[in-house]
């Protein structure tokens, strides 16, 4: 029973990982930008959620009305800058790492390095949960899960069914061909950067719902998020979702059956094995 419960909560938490990873995956896969500053956007969104909810007494979920547009603009602007400066895939990793260092320190200067947490008064979601029999679905991670599934399903629909989506996929395959079909890759890149910024806003809000914030958290996300991105297949949203859920559930189960200390060991060993057996990403079909 504990094992099932842990697998379930882990699975739901995996939704948050997937949501954090989605933006990184898309910009990397389609735009060839490894954007570490994405973690900075998640961090800022989380702090904004905290600030707006604590100061204005806004419901933390409603803060999205502010953070999503803000991060859309930030993400789009960032992509515009990468494009204008002609930054290569590798250098984007470094430049955005520099940017992330700057962001983390600025956050620390604004909100202090000490733990910030929404109090129970403004954040009723932290300890709330939905129960079915003995099984419990914590509201914070249930939200993350639902948002991740809804978002990624919607994105896949757009990619498959609309012209813009097909254009995007063509663009990811081959830039020159895409431009021959009249796709303005600049505008496309900015929109995509903006959308991934928007996911950062949502992920930040969801993180703030359940966690105390401290600026250094941004660096702690690296390991798990990159594992999810690559395991799912770079640029493959459904794969990212599946990888996130799998990673979450697996570490939940291992924590119970062995020990929490063994969870990273089993998890990353499993990832290594998965990559050796399915080197293109766990959920990407071999033929490509």
């Amino acid at each position: 029973m504990i094992t099932i419960q842990s697998a379930l909560t882990g699975l739901l938490l995996g939704g948050l990982y997937a949501l954090m990873a989605a933006g990184v995956s898309v910009t990397w896969g389609v735009l060839r930008i490894i954007n570490l500053a994405h973690f900075g956007m998640i961090l800022i969104s989380a702090y904004l959620t905290f600030q707006l909810a604590s100061d204005w007494g806004l419901d933390p979920i409603l803060t999205l009305a502010v953070t999503v547009p803000a991060m859309f603009v930030a993400g789009g602007a960032l992509q515009w800058a990468y494009d204008r400066l002609g930054i290569s895939e590798l250098n984007s990793l470094l430049a955005s790492f520099g940017l992330l260092i700057v962001i983390v320190q600025l956050v620390s200067n604004v909100w202090s390095a000490d733990f910030q947490r929404m109090s129970a008064a403004v954040n009723p979601y932290a300890t709330a949960s939905v129960g079915i029999g003995r099984l419990v679905f914590p509201v914070t991670t249930l939200l993350a899960f639902l948002v991740a599934v809804a978002f990624i399903a919607a994105a896949e629909l757009v990619l498959r069914r609309t012209f813009a989506g097909r254009a995007l996929r063509a663009f990811a395959e081959d830039r020159t061909i895409a431009s021959a079909f009249g796709i303005d890759h600049r505008r496309l890149g900015i929109v995509l950067g903006g959308l991934s910024g928007a996911t950062a806003a949502v992920a930040g809000m969801l993180f703030a719902l359940a966690n105390a914030l401290t600026p250094a958290t941004a660096f702690e996300w690296f390991g798990i998020v990159f594992a999810v991105v690559i395991l799912g297949g770079i640029g493959h949203l459904t794969g990212t979702l599946a990888a996130g859920l799998l990673v979450g559930a697996l570490s939940g189960v291992v924590s119970v059956l062995l020990s929490p200390a063994a969870a990273p060991f089993v998890l990353f060993t499993a990832i290594v094995l998965a990559l050796l057996l399915r080197p293109r990403g766990l959920f990407v079909r071999a033929a490509q």
Binding site: S88, L93, G98, L99, A261, T269, I271
Partner: protein
């Protein structure tokens, strides 16, 4: 060149060592020694990273694994069990070598290994090792380990002197290894892997072996550095040695300095450490990382190829660009007598991709003196056959013998050494090398390897053969499509092949260029090389081929002299007819 460079590195180490040995006479502050120790630790780590990731392009996020294994080896054996410190350094080196061999054997055996996958594999390793250290109480168990000060000759002075000198020694060795690798065959091999790995393999570079040794060298250096780092921090915890900041900083330093050159990481590491030091001395509390991050961004924008390249370009040197005299002797030596022996023998060859049968039950003999035109409609299996012959693909069934040797399933570089060379439909030169070195590269690793100077002379000869001798000092990016295709041929020739596979080497050329290319192919054939050319233009096939093989749906449809085959009704129906009515 190499000897002088090594003496230079030795001198630099000696000069730096006087800072400690004559510290009091020179009045050199011991605090700067501590700072230099930190800088040298990062020089070692960045160099270690660069040997694999900079040279070969396989990005590693696993630097912390070596630092961690090294530090924990020393911490556990010396710190806790009081073994001899120097012995623990050796053990650390051994453990890292074993770790790297394990990683390399697993990762580099993957046929479809891509850079991202390797990056994630290396990202995972430190996490696994860190968790292992946490779980296992006899390694760490969670509390960290104190590392005392080892015995060292009293004449060296203080512990800081000792630490500085030993770190300097390790860094010196690391840089020397990186230097030697850069200037040896292994450096050429790794650079060609970075530029175009499967091309390198097909030219005869044993890519697997070179990658594996680079990984091992990188790991051993990283581990020894980590082992000494344990003394520097004095207290080893999982968080301090397995942290993700290690690989991130190492990457920043190497790329900032210039990752394709041995000196880049040295420059990057020293620069970043000094920058951090100056920033913290300015006591800009709360702004120090902001400035560091901003400087990082600016430097990436100013010098995207690395500062070393940027600085070097400021002083344009004429880099001794005397064109070496072309050495045509060996090129012309070849017999131009028609050789009738069987060179290639395919028996019942099949290649399936999932349900698609690209080649099915093909049996084919090619004689040494022939120039075979391989034709057929799209998807008939021409390129697949070329890939099978060159070893880029393994047959599902059947066997291939070339020059009397069974080459079925051999890795491409071994097949290259048997005497098979190929070109690609889309030319893939080594972008970081000059045109001449692209060709010299093939001599270096070809069937009859030569020393570099000799290889460059031979290369000039091969370039003359295809008419590119005037472009030897140019970089491939300056060449047009036709010239690139000629370069492909010169490079293939440089391996001194018995069999040359030309995969649509004339695609996309204008009529004048085609005529020139046809002439070059004829010249190559006349020099005694058996040529198989995949070509759509029947005019070319008619003009060149001594024999035509028509493939259709993976099987041989017709085979014989060009006139007969190309007027065969079956061929016309399957191939020409379709075309004519299309």
């Amino acid at each position: 060149m190499m000897a002088r460079g090594l003496v230079g590195i030795g001198l630099a180490v000696a000069a730096l060592s006087t800072l400690s040995l004559y510290r009091e006479t020179l009045g050199f502050p011991i605090a700067y020694l501590a700072l230099l120790t930190t800088a040298l630790f990062w020089v070692t780590q960045a160099t270690s990273w660069n040997i694999l990731s900079g040279y070969s392009g396989y990005f590693s996020f696993g630097q912390a694994a070596y630092v961690g294994v090294g530090a924990y080896t020393t911490a556990v054996l010396f710190g806790r069990h009081e073994w001899n410190f120097y012995l623990t350094v050796l053990i650390a080196a051994g453990l890292c070598a074993v770790l790297a061999l394990g990683m390399g054997l697993l990762a580099f055996r993957l046929r479809s290994l891509r850079g991202e996958i390797f990056a994630l594999l290396t990202l995972a390793v430190p996490f696994i090792l860190a968790a292992l250290a946490r779980i296992n109480g006899s390694i760490d168990g969670g509390q960290g380990i104190i590392v005392a000060i080892p015995d060292f000759p009293a004449a060296l002075g203080r512990f800081q002197d000792f630490l500085y000198l030993i770190t300097l020694l390790v860094a010196g060795i690391a840089v020397a290894v990186a230097f030697v690798m850069a200037h040896s065959r292994s450096g050429w091999a790794l650079a060609s892997i970075r530029d175009a790995e499967d091309v390198a393999e097909a030219l005869g570079v044993a890519t697997f072996r070179h990658k594996l040794w680079a990984l091992v060298a990188s790991a051993v250096i990283g581990g020894v550095g980590g082992s000494v780092f344990a003394l520097q921090i004095g207290f080893v915890t999982v968080d301090s040695v397995f942290s993700l900041t290690v690989p991130l900083f190492v990457i920043v330093m190497s790329v900032l300095g210039g990752r394709t050159h041995w000196f880049g990481p040295v420059l990057g590491a020293v620069l970043v450490v000094l920058l951090q030091d100056r920033l913290s001395a300015m006591a800009l509390l709360g702004w120090q990382p902001v400035i560091l991050g901003a400087v990082l961004i600016v430097m990436i924008l100013v010098a995207p190829e690395g500062l070393y390249v940027r600085v070097r370009n400021l002083w344009p040197r004429s880099r001794g660009s005397k064109t070496p005299p072309a050495d045509l002797s060996e090129v012309d030596e070849q017999l131009s007598v028609v050789d009738d022996s069987v060179l290639v023998e395919c028996r019942d060859l099949s290649k399936h991709f999932g349900g698609v049968r690209a080649v099915e039950g093909l049996s084919l003999q090619i004689r040494a003196g022939e120039l075979v035109g391989l034709v057929g409609p799209n998807g008939s299996g021409k390129t697949t056959l070329v890939n099978l012959l060159a070893g880029s693909l393994r047959p599902t069934r059947g066997s291939i013998h070339i020059a009397g040797r069974d080459t079925t399933g051999l890795p491409p570089h071994r097949i290259a050494h048997v005497g098979v060379a190929r070109t690609y439909q889309i030319p893939r030169p080594f972008a970081s090398m000059t045109v001449r070195d692209n060709v010299a590269m093939a001599v270096l690793f070809g069937r009859e390897p030569r020393r570099l100077a000799h290889a460059r002379r031979l290369a000039a000869g091969h370039l003359a053969m295809v008419g590119l001798d005037h472009l030897g000092d140019a970089y491939p990016s300056a060449l047009n499509l036709h010239q690139r295709q000629l370069l492909e041929m010169a490079r293939a020739l440089a391996t001194s092949p018995k069999l040359l596979l030309l995969d649509e080497a004339l695609a996309g050329l204008n009529p004048a260029e085609i005529d020139n290319a046809v002439e070059v192919v004829r010249r190559i054939h006349a020099s005694g090389v058996c040529v198989v050319i995949v070509e759509h233009l029947l005019r070319v096939v008619r003009a060149l081929a001594t024999r035509v093989v028509v493939l259709d749906r993976g099987s041989c449809l017709a085979d014989g002299d060009p006139e007969t085959v190309l007027s065969d009704p079956a061929v016309v129906r399957a191939y020409l007819g379709k075309r004519a009515h299309a």
